[in-house]
């Protein structure tokens, strides 16, 4: 029965108007994988293990929803699997795992024997020291978490065209304000341009005799070309962690995200140099307020010095327009301030059909060039 329908539809598809039939779309074939619930033995349902609680079922269902399937899923459609990206960072340090585990097991056993800790836990009064937790986190799982957040903010896609790195070196950046107030820069927090008007204090752990490069770029703010970035600060050949002793190739320019453009990312990149590098090609003149000279591409910069340095540290913040940006444009950059407005993409309407089915009268309004509403006029 399927064969004559199939051949009729194919004949129609070759020439002339074909009549639409779903028989063309599917033909009998073996499934490409196991069908769901195939492993359930329907004859012996009483012997199956029950869920007994909704939470257990929900966890099982969510885990099963995340698994890859052989049929087309919305997940596969919206989230195509990414190719493995090259890793351009420093190799991870191989510490002796056995000793570390032994030490950790010892600490955990002591915790379990500690009566004070048990009392605090059972009375629910225990409060762990958050700064110690953060310090330990920065040493152990911090780099992976920072890499994950950076990936979701699109840093690797925009700066290095997909190549990722794990920021092993913890970069501590903070802007100091007038009344001894510190505005730290972590991985994605908000800082205003007035807070960021002077160069920040940067600190990181470095061996004596090692050389580093610090770079501050803005991949979102370019006023002419969407694919290039603005260079805000470049300090090279920094011995140890002393930023002042490094050679400043490009002096600090405070952030200037234009009004109406939303939040811009400002990214601090710390590169570890294998030896002294000559950066004379990237040197900008000392008062450099020309946006053309500050146009920058991290990918080309890194490709040029690929062999001599590797990215080791990362910190970034999100920045929005505020009134100090106006003075930056007028005084430092010597230009009129650009103001932008958000333009929504036009609403999508499918191609117009001569006899629309189940559509209201305002269907015609959607395709008319002028604005003549048929609704709300009486």
């Amino acid at each position: 029965m399927a064969a004559p329908l199939l051949s009729a539809a194919l004949r129609g598809a070759r020439g002339g108007r074909s009549f639409g039939t779903a028989a063309v779309l599917w033909k009998r074939a073996a499934p490409l994988g196991p069908m769901p619930n195939e492993d359930v033995d329907v004859a012996r349902l009483e012997e199956l293990q029950r869920y007994r609680s909704f939470a257990r079922y929900l966890r099982q269902a969510e885990r099963a929803g995340r698994e890859p399937r052989w049929w087309n899923t919305y997940r596969k459609h919206s989230h195509p699997p990414a190719e493995p990206q090259p890793d351009i960072g420093l190799p991870p340090e191989r510490l002796s795992r056995a000793e570390e585990l032994k030490e950790r097991k010892r600490i955990l056993r002591e915790n379990r024997r500690n009566a004070e800790m048990e009392r605090a836990a059972r009375l629910r009064t225990v409060l762990i020291p958050l700064d110690e937790v953060r310090a330990e986190w920065e040493r152990t799982s911090g780099p992976f978490h920072k890499q994950r957040v950076a990936k979701h903010c699109g840093l690797f896609r925009d700066l290095f065209r997909g190549a990722t790195f794990t920021p092993w070196v913890a970069l501590r950046v903070h802007y100091s304000q007038e009344d001894e107030y510190l505005v730290p820069v972590y991985y994605g927090n908000m800082v205003t341009p007035s807070e960021a008007s002077s160069p920040p204090e940067v600190s990181y752990e470095a061996d004596k005799g090692s050389l580093w490069t610090l770079l501050l770029t803005n991949p979102d703010g370019h006023l002419r070309d969407a694919d290039s970035e603005y260079l805000h600060w470049l300090v090279t050949n920094i011995p140890g962690s002393d930023i002042k002793a490094g050679k400043e190739m490009c002096h600090y320019l405070p952030p200037f995200p234009a009004m109406g453009t939303g939040y811009h990312r400002f990214i601090f990149l710390l590169f570890k140099q294998h030896g002294p590098i000559d950066f004379s090609q990237d040197a900008r003149p000392t008062p450099c307020y020309s946006l053309k000279m500050r146009t920058f591409s991290t990918f080309d910069f890194y490709r040029k010095h690929n062999d001599a340095m590797t990215p080791a540290g990362l910190a970034f913040f999100q920045c929005q327009w505020d009134s100090s940006v106006t003075s930056t444009f007028h005084q430092l950059l010597n230009m009129r301030e650009p103001v932008f407005e958000f333009v929504r993409p036009p609403p999508f309407h499918p191609p117009q059909v001569k006899f629309p089915r189940h559509q209201p009268l305002r269907y015609l309004d959607r395709y008319r060039d002028t604005q003549e509403p048929t609704y709300g006029i009486y």
Binding site: N111, A121, W137, V149, G154, G188, G262, H264, P338
Partner: protein
């Protein structure tokens, strides 16, 4: 129009050449920041999925998973990508706790994940997708209180349509 300085190099005209080109600005500005639209409350939330539960109408969701041995908290996007996470499996948190499960662990995990969310710039998070009757249990209430005290707002702002 713009006047460019002559080719004779002199210090005075160099600064003029430097900044006179700054005024050229493209009429259309593209912001590549993927977090920009959701921070301005202009990004779309996935409004479909009305016949299933949990709904996906959020930019970031806070999900607490309590297993037999550990407690984990994830902040994820509607497509499932985890942005910030904290769990009592991590050594940094486990070493200070008597037991990695239970109400005390949930409370401290709430404090830790609130700190990490604020560091990552996530100030608004959706915490609705918990099983309704489980919301009343002590550990989830303590977790919610700790996250609120940490400074993260537990409901997302409404999207700006006009």
């Amino acid at each position: 129009g713009f006047r460019f300085a002559s080719t004779t190099a002199s210090l005075k005209t160099e600064t003029e050449v430097d900044t006179s080109e700054n005024e050229i600005v493209a009429p259309n500005f593209t912001n590549r920041n993927p977090r920009n639209l959701e921070q301005m409350a202009l990004a779309r939330k996935e409004r479909g999925w009305k016949t299933t539960w949990p709904k996906r109408e959020f930019w970031h969701r806070l999900r607490l998973e309590r297993t037999q041995h550990y407690v984990e908290a994830f902040v994820e996007r509607s497509n499932g990508d985890v942005v910030v996470s904290a769990s009592t499996r991590e050594w940094a948190i486990k070493r200070h706790l008597y037991s990695p499960k239970g109400v005390a662990a949930c409370r401290n995990l709430g404090r830790v994940i609130a700190q990490r969310c604020l560091e990552a710039g996530i100030n608004f998070v959706n915490f609705k997708a918990i099983i309704p009757w489980e919301h009343r249990c002590d550990s989830i209430q303590e977790f919610e209180k700790a996250v609120k005290e940490g400074g993260v707002v537990l409901h997302e702002p409404r999207r700006i349509y006009r």
